[in-house]
Symmetry: D2
Subunit: 350 residues, 4 copies
């Protein structure tokens, strides 16, 4: 009953097998091997257009280098107050971009509202050095709260960005989970709705360590190469990333693992809703579930073997939570079994 995080899972057997299959023989290093190039083409097919693909090892690297690639001195990036880049990356985006500032924007469900975004950007006169200058927005899909932006919501936010001449970045650490939740295509969820560059995550969805920045403007790739190397994120044996993506993207494995994780989350939500000892903190659509539990129940569930994290109580819930209650987060993954969910459901049932 491990619901601590999707990164507590290991690697999907197909990913492991692909690594083993590609272990022997020689291949050009630093992204110049045949398999590297095959994977780049695969991304082009998946996104239905020419893209440039930059492999990195962590989601934080993907986000930080993406933002660095659109940075200017004094630049400001707008993201939701609870976005991973703001609360969970130890200022890596600021550091690796030479001093970008991340400006928190509000909105329910960890999604910026277009109005809040607009008013945040509008406060900055475009060329007053004291203020700094807006350069980009970043939205997380799926969000840290397990919610998913609809295609229209994405477009509404990127439209604000476009109006102010800002780049639109998507943090897709859980890209696949959002995609299958929306039943959309990768193209529909990104460039067709105004996204300029994407952190495409594989790690949380069954890879060991496979993240990529997808640049919908492929001419940006040359400079990006220097950004990546200067940040020490260029792998020599790059085919070990390529080999993971090879299995990940083959025969829709990535969609299948994401559907499984989301389905397990759905079962969890059902179990939580069905119990009269606990309730959902808010609704979610991807592979994260947030529930309000009596502390005693959280403790007894843990003693029975369930693993999950307490979560920061959002301001909007402050009034509706009792002192003896706690918000908890449950994350599912390709490795979550129905049995685990069933066992946990039994624990919280009266």
């Amino acid at each position: 009953m491990i619901f601590a995080s999707d990164n507590w899972a290991g690697a999907h057997p197909a990913i492991s097998a692909s690594l083993a299959d590609n272990a022997s023989g020689f291949a050009a290093a630093y992204g110049n091997g045949d398999l590297d190039k095959i994977i780049e083409k695969r991304f082009c097919e998946i996104f239905e257009r020419e893209v440039a693909v930059v492999f990195v090892g962590t989601g934080t690297a993907a986000n930080s280098l993406s933002l660095a690639s659109v940075a200017k001195p004094g630049g400001i990036v707008f993201a939701h107050r609870e976005a991973h880049i703001i609360v969970d990356e130890c200022s890596a985006p600021e550091f690796l971009s030479g001093g970008l500032r991340l400006h928190p924007v509000d909105g329910p469900g960890s999604k910026m509202t277009p109005a809040a975004l607009d008013s945040a950007v509008a406060r900055f006169a475009p060329e007053i050095v004291h203020d700094g200058r807006p350069v980009a927005i970043s939205l997380t899909q799926a969000t840290e709260a397990g919610t998913v932006h609809t295609l229209d919501e994405i477009e509404a936010l990127t439209s604000v960005a476009r109006r102010y001449g800002l780049s639109a970045h998507m943090d897709g650490a859980r890209f696949a989970n959002a995609l299958v939740a929306l039943d959309a295509t990768p193209a529909e969820m990104t460039w067709k709705r105004g996204i300029d560059l994407l952190s495409f995550g594989g790690t949380k969805n069954g890879c060991w360590c496979a993240e990529a920045v997808v640049l919908f403007d492929p001419t940006a790739a040359k400079d990006f190469g220097f950004l990546r190397k200067r940040a020490a994120h260029l792998f020599s044996k790059s085919r070990f990333i390529a080999a993971q993506f090879d299995a990940y993207l083959r025969d829709d494995l990535w969609l299948e693992t994401a559907r499984h994780a989301n389905a397990m989350a759905g079962h969890l939500r059902d179990a939580i809703s069905a119990s009269n000892r606990t309730r959902l903190a808010w609704d979610s659509e991807a592979n994260e579930v947030f529930a309000i539990l009596p502390r005693t129940l959280a403790e007894s569930a843990r003693q029975a073997g369930a693993v999950f994290h307490d979560w920061h109580t959002p301001a909007e819930l402050a009034g509706s939570i009792q002192p003896d209650e706690v918000v908890c987060r449950f994350v599912t993954s390709f490795a979550t079994s129905v049995d685990d969910v069933t066992a946990f459901a039994a624990l919280i049932r009266e």
Copy 2:
């Protein structure tokens, strides 16, 4: 006949197997899993003392974060003019350390001489802000030139460092190759000879992607964790590094692969010395061999399937190389076969 680089090889079968073996099941992320801790203990045993171990994904990250951990504003690091951190890392050490400067020092065989190091450091008055201030030395073991510092040479350099109050860092991207060349123990080649922190490389010697910073002062680990995360180098599924090191360090696999690579380099050197169409550019002891070839021979060897890189002609060789000759580098690895070396030997034999 691939002698392009040791990073053109894939992963050793035992490394692959270990990854597959550790792929299933759940484990705490971000370095907190059981296997992560077992590996840290293994490092303590190997180095015969308490050490802290920080996993990262690239040798450049290991070097850059090591130097960042001993940096001060205006800090200066002394390294050989041809050191990897100076010529091959795209200013990552400077960038990730917030502006350290790398000061080139001379010496034959890509090894700083203690006298040259001393005189370079001595030029800096200790506390004049205009000059900056020395903070560390960094020596590469084995060097980029395939040479290896003897234990006494290491101590002579770290003694200079000690005298000026500087930290002593070792770039051990090819640590194992140097170790078996010297037939020394890890402790003897490092802290017993004055090294304070070490970039311990596994990637070039049979891993997919496994590098570690070894801190002989374990109390430095806490701050190092923030440096690593801020640079986006903290892996979530850290066990995929741990699993590689588990196989790498088990039953002396790492020494065995290094011995093989060095032996293949020895055969290559013998073949080059035996040919009257080519000659060694300089002697080397680890898994890199540098030879002077007629350009026509280099070309014909390549057409016959040999892969190797032209190399920058060092200043000291400038006078002894003919216009129709070129310096070439040959790198061997765990994956280099005797057959490959034999085939290449045949190509260059008259």
Copy 3:
């Protein structure tokens, strides 16, 4: 009728005279001249203890280098949402500190409340790398809103800092204005109430360009020297700063100019309160006054020669301002004359 900013004024005649008096003759550069040292002693007397003093040229430099001096990788600084370091310094504090993050805290009157500060800091677990780690608080005295922290308010905030082991910085760009508003001593308003380091501003209060960082821990000065030089903020002819401070601090000139500026602001406030065409946006105590004007009145006043800036409407006022009204800021200085205030009062009187 120039109320645009206190930095639209030039230099006080005594400051000019001191510069002229010190223009001839030779003096050691880079802070080593006799006058530099005399001024440092003067600061010690004024603050009733040993302090180290670091001259810089801009308030932004004083703030940024102060925070840099207490920075750590992943470090977080807490300041009011409307603090100058957050809204008016183009990310210089982040940039010059190698990536500190500024965390906005709420509170009325541009002053953080201790409770809001405490709850902001408390969200950060002390040593979780993902979050970053709190390192300092920064409070502005007087604030950008013209308000002044009482001594007890200062202590309440520095007590929170102390409890969490954070440094307490004061942005004193308008230090003198706050000091005379409180009728306190420099010691009382700083280290006796828990402040660790201070940006001491002279420029806005009658100097050309004279700012100093005052370190209540003088041992921090050595490293600070490198921070300053690395940021290119070490003046060669440092006596031109010293000469300004010499006049500024002599015979309480600085308190006199601040009293004058505050008094002029008081007259302005009275005039605004007395008019039934305008009203104070909020009360203030130092040399800034914020008023709500009908747009037509703002326009006619400007046409009559008054110079002042529109101001961002704070969220708490949003409901009480009509569409045809605007918040305006009026700043007074040593150079503001009673006649100017009287003339402006006439403009807004019905």
Copy 4:
């Protein structure tokens, strides 16, 4: 007999007077005042073309921000091994540019030779991320050794830059001294010979604190404004810089003070050449003189009141200096009197 540095002098009386004359009245801050704009036009006239001018407070800031404005990730700047930006600025250029590397180039008289520059640049393949990539050259005019590049020498170096697509920066901390030594016009010594951007120094030649970056591509000014503010180098009361330049550039004061300083250096050189107890270390043309003195003579001269600095012995002099001799530097300025030089001449005469 103060020959320690030209920054030991104060301000020329005309500079002081201009500051006093501009002290009263109100003016728009941050470079937007009338005088700021008048000075910018003056620069256009002096350089015979449209230029953008950015005021800063230190030569290090002018150099660092100039280089930052042409930086790219992994960028490399080529300068003479003894250039101020390399040996005397505490890594500020690297820090303020986000990690540019300064690559030392050799040449006699502190001037890079075109051949050495070409071969240094040529080693870098243009787009290999490991190496970094050349972005600019920087030459110092006059050099730290008191020498001056001829117009043809400047063009030879900028031609190399042009061939590789690099920007050409001139560090003109002693621009005026070089200009009058060559009897050239500002245009001839800069953009007509291929210079793209210039650090124009006033401080060493009679100002208190007046430096400017001159951009021969004025469209670069907008971004430069953010670079300057982000580094905390934007002065609020910018007219105090403008007022200095107003006097400095009026009636050719700047050329007159430079001619005086150079003439005093000439007298010093004559006196040194005429003495048989000392000799010139090398010839120089601007306001710095380097001599080899017996240590006993250096000591007795100092006891008699002369102030000058020992200098680092350049490698090329190592063989020709006796153990009891020392290289000393003598710097003259607008404030150096004939009497001082005469008195010093008497000290070193037998």
